[in-house]
């Protein structure tokens, strides 16, 4: 009986941790990321997740001809310098923030409408610890009229 109670407690704790982590991720984005999109208008779609070092995430988006866009990749400090790359659908590299001191945001303009891929890479950290770091990452898009 005592063991069943222990299992229930562990389960409840883990559920709480998961829920808190998710909520904290959204709060992190609201507090630390959205302001960097200004003066662009946030498109309202929150693409965020808890990622672990070495993880890769991608966002498929369409840039419309003549519109100005800002792409913002925002990650928690514990994850280090987040790399973000922009590819066309043929995987031709258009932009890499590695060439720009790992800046978290960059503006784009295309003279024709096209589908692009934003790729985000969480760096592997050189640490003697076997524990992998994880943290919140968000990919946000802003546009101008």
């Amino acid at each position: 009986m005592r063991n069943i109670i222990k299992v229930i407690i562990v389960l409840s704790l883990l559920l709480s941790i998961s829920s808190i982590a998710s909520s904290q991720c959204k709060n992190f984005v609201k507090k630390h990321c959205l302001a960097d999109l200004e003066p662009f208008v946030y498109d309202g779609q929150l693409n965020s997740a808890i990622l672990t070092e070495g993880d890769i995430a991608e966002l498929l988006l369409t840039l419309y001809a003549g519109q100005d866009y800002r792409i913002l990749v925002c990650g928690q400090e514990i994850l280090g310098d987040i790399e973000f790359n922009l590819f066309d659908t043929n995987r031709n590299l258009i932009f890499s923030n590695k060439d720009h001191d790992f800046t978290t945001n960059w503006d784009f303009k295309s003279n024709s409408t096209q589908q692009l891929i934003v790729q985000v890479i969480v760096p592997k950290q050189e640490s003697s610890s076997s524990m992998l770091h994880n943290g919140c990452i968000a990919i946000l898009k802003g546009f101008k009229e």
Partner: protein
Amino acid sequence: MITKALLFSVSFGLIILFYSCNSNTDEYNNSDNDILLDSNDVNNDHQKKVKMIFYNIPSPLEMATILQETVGDYNSEILNSFNVYNKYTTNKKIALNLGVYGADLSYTRMFDQIQASVNYLSSIKKLSDNLGIPQNDGSFTVSRIEENIDNRDSILIIISETYATADAYLKESGRGSTAALIIIGGWVEALYIATNILKEKNDVNKEILNRIAEQKYSLENLVELSKSYENDDINEFIPQLEELQECFDKIEITYTKGEVITDEINKITTIKSKINIDVSYETVNEIGIIVERIRSSIIE
């Protein structure tokens, strides 16, 4: 001892489970979205696994700005009436029509239709309340709307904040599928408005034709987004969206990679690629008929 081992196994299993889960959605089919990239494409390492793919679909607001230069005269007849919000009582219908009203509001804003904008904002507030979305940042207070209603830019920000709050709240409370339904409703309504603008024009307007044709890309993302959820309310749209996709497949868009110019000082990259769009009026007309059918099932 065995019990302790069992307890450890269960706990460990749960930890692995939680850490492998997508953090922000309940029914998001995460594992199905994992893809393998060829190492040559991206870097020199061995194959790296993409953990998560997000799909970005233009919000109703963005769709309206895309069409902004192509619009004709204001026509309230093509919009879903703002005062029928009461008939939407299920989670699915409320979410879809929250998206529809977002597109309609963006349209009224584009034409500086102040009273109509107030009416749509009020209906959006009611639908948001019915979905249990809190508006605790004050963006939705009647006074704020009234104070800013004659300012197009302020309305733009209110709309953006409203839909951003809804999207974030729904995703963080494990209702990502509801957020996706808002996107579907908004996209369908915006495309419906665009095809109607085209119909109203007496001559074939190449600019509008191209803008509609370019939605081929967003539709691909929308279909993928819909497939990524194991949710009946969303999945029932897949056959309809695929039918629409078949029609869009008749449109040929050829892309030629062009020069990429990066301005370090202003932190801006300009992509000078070229596309050629081969689209006929008949195809767009066909798209209009399918969109009208999907839209009818949403607003009925």
